[in-house]
């Protein structure tokens, strides 16, 4: 009898151990995914604010579209670039709004090779990429949060040195696709 008990205990411990190691692996993989997709989103946000700044500067110099709106966009781009982690979401959202207002004032885009058209195309592309990267990042955060809510995984998180799962990044980037040339779409 004691032998049977010992074998059972060893087996249960082994299974539990394998499960813990496996879960730890899942947590780490998801944390890497969150981190990586944040880098991608960060890069696209930087690219977008740079594109917005460049277009705004051009409009200011050449008095195209609404100069006040262009200046507002330029200010918003600077704010977005200098925002700290906690103000980032707000600043990027303000930039979204400023970009939309400025683009509406500029009227429909041409498809030519002129400088303003190229600047607008770059802004449209980077705005689309922000939407894409944001969705991919939020998915990663959601998956990691989902796993950390599980009982055993949650235990590992509390016992281990796991960093925060990251926050969802919510900004309004849907209406920007008005100006976008690409049709990759779909939210929620």
């Amino acid at each position: 009898m004691p032998l049977t008990l010992a074998i059972t205990l060893v087996t249960v411990t082994l299974i539990l151990g394998v499960y813990l190691v496996w879960t730890e692996g899942r947590l780490e993989r998801l944390a890497t995914r969150v981190q990586g997709s944040w880098s991608a989103l960060d890069a696209q946000l930087v690219r977008r604010s740079a594109a917005a700044g460049e277009l705004a500067a051009y409009c200011r110099r050449h008095a195209c579209g609404d100069v006040d709106l262009a200046e507002a966009m330029e200010d918003a781009a600077v704010d977005a670039q200098s925002a700290g982690q906690s103000e980032r979401e707000y600043a990027e959202n303000e930039l979204s709004k400023a970009i939309r207002a400025a683009l509406v004032a500029l009227g429909p885009a041409g498809v030519g090779e002129s400088k303003p058209d190229r600047l607008r195309a770059e802004l449209a592309t980077s705005a689309t990429r922000v939407g894409l990267a944001r969705q991919i990042y939020n998915d990663a955060v959601r998956d990691l949060r989902g796993l950390r809510r599980r009982r055993i995984a949650g235990l590992l998180v509390r016992r281990g040195r796991h960093v925060s799962p990251g926050d969802f990044f919510e900004i309004d980037d849907t209406a920007l696709s008005l100006a976008a040339t690409s049709a990759v779409g779909g939210q929620d």
């Binding site: 990586g36 997709s37 998915d139 998956d143 779909g186 929620d188």
Partner: protein, 377 residues
């Protein structure tokens, strides 16, 4: 960029997913990317294109209402692992990841950025609901999900939660637009076309055959051209005598002949009774300039976008009526043909592939930056 594509269904049997993977692979290569495709083959000695790696033999499995040939076993798993190790892909792009086949095997073995495309859509999948907890860890490895149709996207979001991008199926517009009609078709008295499995009732051939009776009486000389796999003899035996000779059964046609088929008819008919998630055949017909008459299914309505006639599904009288008035109205046919070519332009493979590349670049950027931060630690 090095891209690994995985097709779960048998490569040497024609199908929507196979065609999607092949066209995506070819277009990516044209755009200068390195592509390798992992797919099972029914015939071990099958002549595969140089970019396809054989994932082993398949077994027939009933899946999603029809029979699919899938590869799922230790040998296929080993080949998937070897292919992944040899490939060193920047992005791994799996198709139909939850079909019990090489896509799922590759997902289990995957390490880097993964993109998954969902093709099917069923309103409610008991199997998926039951297996969801077991599939959850695999799903966590998928960085970006893509659905090829609004219906497929609803299915993914409903069953798996989270988000899903929408990138439509593509069509090789130029190839369909420039194909030569089959010799002797459509002929002076008109021709109606059907393409799909002839022994799969959901594809609707029985409905069309029933509608063809009154049509054949009203249009002397009108012919019906039927292409698609299945038992041709069985269908031929069941054809009613008086107009049996006006039905041409081609059986399974090659990709080249499929394009020629669409150019050989005055109206293309899709009398499907359900189970369709997108209707790529409708796009192919539109690319070839064939006016389309299709069942009024959600997927078909979205795909046609007004450039075709919709009739109630499973209603031979309505179908016969719609085909009859279309055959009597050349101006309407020409109008539908022009509208169809317009709609299909946004599904041209280069357009669709660039959208998919945007997704690749976004997730592959992750890999590069994750490596960088890993090295800095």
């Amino acid at each position: 960029m090095r891209v690994g594509l995985v097709c779960p269904y048998t490569w040497d049997v024609p199908g929507g997913v196979q065609a999607h993977v092949r066209e995506l692979a070819l277009t990516l290569q044209t755009l200068g990317h390195e592509v390798s495709v992992l797919a099972p083959a029914a015939d071990p000695d099958a002549e595969l294109p140089p970019y396809v790696v054989n994932a082993g033999r398949t077994v027939p499995i009933r899946y999603n209402g029809s029979v699919a040939r899938l590869a799922f076993g230790p040998r296929s798993a080993k080949r998937a692992r070897r292919w992944l190790a040899d490939g060193e892909f920047d992005v791994l792009h799996l198709h139909e990841p939850f079909a019990p086949s090489v896509s799922l095997l590759a997902l289990w073995a995957a390490r880097g950025p993964v993109v998954a495309t969902f093709h099917a859509s069923v309103v409610r999948s008991r199997a998926l609901e039951t297996l969801e907890p077991a599939l959850r860890p695999a799903l966590e490895k998928v960085h970006a999900r893509i659905a090829v149709s609004p219906a497929a996207r609803t299915y993914v979001v409903t069953h798996l939660g989270g988000s899903c991008l929408l990138v439509p199926n593509g069509v090789d517009v130029a190839r369909f637009a420039s194909a030569e009609p089959l010799p002797g078709w459509p002929g002076p008295d008109g021709a109606v076309g059907f393409l799909g499995r002839i022994d799969e009732p959901r594809k609707g051939l029985p409905v069309l055959l029933e509608a063809f009776g009154p049509l054949a009486a009203a249009h002397p000389g009108l012919r019906l051209l039927v292409a698609g796999p299945g038992d041709v003899e069985e269908v031929r035996e069941d054809l009613p005598g008086p107009w049996a000779h006006r039905v041409e059964l081609l059986g399974l046609v090659s990709e080249q002949d499929k394009a020629r088929f669409f150019r050989s008819v005055d109206a293309y008919c899709a009398p499907n009774t359900g189970g369709e998630s997108f209707g790529i055949v409708l796009l192919e017909a539109m690319a070839a300039g064939a006016p389309v008459v299709a069942s009024d299914l959600d997927a078909f309505r979205v795909t046609l976008d007004g450039a075709g006639e919709l009739v109630p599904a499973d209603d031979p009288d309505a179908l016969a009526g719609a085909l009859d008035s279309l055959l009597n109205d050349p101006a309407r046919r020409a109008g539908l043909s022009t509208a169809g070519r317009d709609v299909v332009r946004r599904y041209d493979w280069p357009v669709v592939t660039r959208q998919i590349l945007e997704v690749y670049e976004t997730v592959a950027g992750e890999k590069v930056s994750a490596d960088r931060s890993g090295a800095g630690r």
